[in-house]
């Protein structure tokens, strides 16, 4: 049904992997430059959305079935939350990263890394979920 958009499809096929890489870059570069879990998640999600726009939602669902996105949604949120709990169990307050490693600075680093990962996963999963739901509404009128 999208035969005439061959160019678009080919271009995007080439584009999507770099976008994903870029997303990962943004994810882990957040400590130094602008970026972080949230932006990365959005970009990551955007890649899939782009894919879905061009190749159809069903194709995306084959790659990333709904239960996976749902699972990721929860995993992301819980990663963040449980990282805080870890701080709590290790003798600090909730979300205290200093206690995560022997050196507080390292602890902070780990903490932020984990937390950002959680944010990234959640946001990407959320974006994909929301889009999928909207896209799955077709045929109503």
């Amino acid at each position: 049904m999208m035969h005439r958009k061959v160019v678009l499809r080919v271009v995007s096929k080439f584009l999507i992997p770099p976008i994903l890489v870029f997303a990962l870059y943004v994810q882990f570069h957040g400590d130094f430059g602008p970026g972080g879990g949230f932006q990365a998640g959005v970009i990551f999600g955007a890649a899939f959305i782009l894919y879905a726009i061009l190749f159809g939602v069903e194709t995306v669902k084959k790659v990333l079935p709904p239960w996976v996105t749902r699972l990721l949604l929860v995993v992301g949120v819980l990663t963040y939350g449980l990282c805080g709990v870890a701080g709590l169990l290790l003798g600090g307050n909730y979300l205290d990263y200093n206690v995560l490693a022997h050196d507080p600075l390292h602890g902070q680093h780990y903490g932020i890394l984990i937390v950002e990962a959680g944010v990234g996963i959640t946001v990407a999963a959320a974006m994909i979920t929301i889009f999928n739901v909207f896209a799955g509404q077709t045929g109503e009128d």
Partner: protein, 196 residues
Amino acid sequence: MLIMGVMAIAIARIRDLFAVSMLSGIFSLTAAAAYVVLDAVDVAFTEAAVGAGISTVLMLGTLALTTRQEKVTGGKSKGTAAFFVVAVTGAVLIYGTFDMPRYGDPIAPIHHHVAPRYLEKSFGEVGMPNVVTSVLASYRSFDTLGEVFVIFTAATGVLAILGRAGRRRREDEIADETVTARSDDASPDKDKETAS
């Protein structure tokens, strides 16, 4: 910013919702540009991705599902009343600006109470050059936790509102949801009512 002003008014006037959605995307993009010049790169990045990207996609998706054209209505009185409310609110805001610290003023209180610690000590305390990340993920990480839950709520909320369950294609959903076998007591009529 003047561009944004023009666009905002255009959004208010234009009735073609497709154009409005695109304009709102561009509006966000311009805002992102403004954030960059205001030294808020992180925010700009996010605004560009979210405001210009995701929101616009969602809007267009909604329009595809609903309608493109806003109806022309003669609600003059409503407009007047709304204008009055807006005028009063705006007046209060403008009134409030008079005692604000001047734009970019380095001696404004916000630059002297909480923020300095972030700028001066965060590298020693958190070890990140990007202060925004330090504050976001460490000093105020609880806010961010909340934020993550907000987006989580939105995603699951959209699932609950629009999810396939209970909609026209409910049957397929039931097919793959083996766990949640329908019980007999919830009458199918009622479900249909919800769906329609």
